[in-house]
Subunit: 243 residues, 2 copies
DNA sequence: CGCCGCGTTGAAGAAAATCAAAGCACGTGG
DNA sequence: CCACGTGCTTTGATTTTCTTCAACGCGGCG
């Protein structure tokens, strides 16, 4: 499983040729395991790897000088993480684990070879990055233009959609090991207000939350409240070079 | 000028080989001019080109069903626009002009060839996309964790930095043809509150605003108020394939 | 002139933050 | 076993921030 996670992720975008697979397998060996609460890479310091999250949960965070913190993303199994950070001399964000995680590490130094020898892999990495950027766009809209309650609904719908992708067998129950304090940093709210919104979510019968486990009772209502758009799901893979 | 804008942009990331330049020049011809108020591409519809903004101003917008609108970016001369949109079957965002603009259009259909034949160009496109993503990260933090006034300050500092990049001869005076209504959609504020923040900006002696023209009196104070981070400026180009 | 878009101001109200207190589960040490 | 502290959750009261509504000045322009 760990040795094929990079491979598995890339394959989900397009079928790979044997020589591309061989290249990926060279790095599939570099699997690392971290316990909960580990800073995998830190904001402001150079990042030397990009990762595929093989198992477990982690989140991308941005800490402000004054102690404020914004969570940029909750990573799902299969997500590519750190491809933005390796492009900068100092990481824009930090990555912290929410559980024990297995990460498949791809050394930054091999990006050059990938772009030269494996155009198909490069195109896939580009496409995956654009997908992540589209998620960031949704987040900007969420924070800029929606109420606290709608933000929470949007978060749930997005997590559900992404959970489906990571594991097609899922139902409307899903659990992410996320304390409410962290959820408030995702939603750009105070912790107290986040608790109130969770309460309302339950009162309205949309979904319930208990210790990191969400149970969605009415996904359609959640999507309706926040005007959820699925455009980010529909990537155009047609231009990826043939194998 | 128009015929070399793509080339000029890519060269700003790394020196190009003659064969890369030749490839870019094939598309340098496709320069289009649009009047103010034009929708260059529309949210929800397929995008067939990516662009380099050769001259003028435009902005990236996300319209919600309920009529709300969020502005994702104000594009500066030299910016690559639409590389995210071409990766989706339906554009995530729309692009509208703020003035007469000249755009250098690169057909999506040629991405395949670029990735296969021009790894250096592909790497540069990737790097430029990561820079734009870093700007989005700053926007998420801005909207999620900062007050109205700090958001405005951050906007000014960012516009100033990016203006420097686009035109190194600039000073602390700069003008973007931006009505306050649009500014409010950038900052995620109501129009009225935006006016009040502009007033305060003037009262505090940080900067003044008149009809799209900003004059910054104290850039350091602006940067201080919002805790501006320059990390996004420092790209690591070291891994780009040699020419 | 009268209309309209843009900027400004004031007042009222809603949304969310902040402050404060208390309950509850859990682990630790006595 | 119980006492105690600590972190997580809940609730209420208060304050701040921002939105909304409304009115008005002002300049351009048909």
């Amino acid at each position: 499983m760990p040795t094929t996670c990079l491979e598995h992720n890339f394959s989900s975008y397009a079928e790979l040729a044997e020589r591309d697979l061989t290249f990926l397998r060279r790095f599939g060996e570099h699997t690392v395991t971290y316990p909960i609460g580990t800073d995998v890479f830190e904001q402001g310091t150079p990042a030397n790897h990009l990762y595929v999250l093989a198992s477990g949960w982690c989140f991308v965070k941005y800490d402000e000088r004054d102690g404020g913190r914004q969570v940029l993303d909750i990573c799902h199994g299969g997500d590519i993480v750190g491809s933005r950070e390796v492009c900068f001399q100092r990481s824009i964000c930090g990555l912290e684990t929410l559980s024990t995680v297995e990460l498949c590490a791809f050394p930054k130094a091999y990006l050059t070879e990938m772009f030269v020898e494996h155009p198909r892999l490069s195109a896939i990495l580009f496409l995956a990055s654009m997908r992540r950027e589209a998620l960031l766009v949704e987040r900007v809209v969420n924070l800029g233009r929606r109420t606290a309650f709608a933000r929470l609904c949007h978060f749930l719908v997005e997590m559900n959609q992404r959970g489906d992708r990571a594991n097609p067998k899922r139902t409307d129950k899903f659990s992410i090991p996320i304390p409410a304090s962290l959820l408030s940093d995702v939603l750009g709210l105070s912790e107290v207000h986040t608790y109130r919104m969770l309460k309302q979510l339950n009162r309205d019968g949309f979904a319930s939350f208990d210790n990191g486990r969400f149970i969605v009772h009415n996904m359609a209502a959640l999507a309706e409240v926040c005007g959820f758009s699925e455009d980010y799901l529909h990537l155009d893979r047609s231009w990826i070079p043939a194998a």
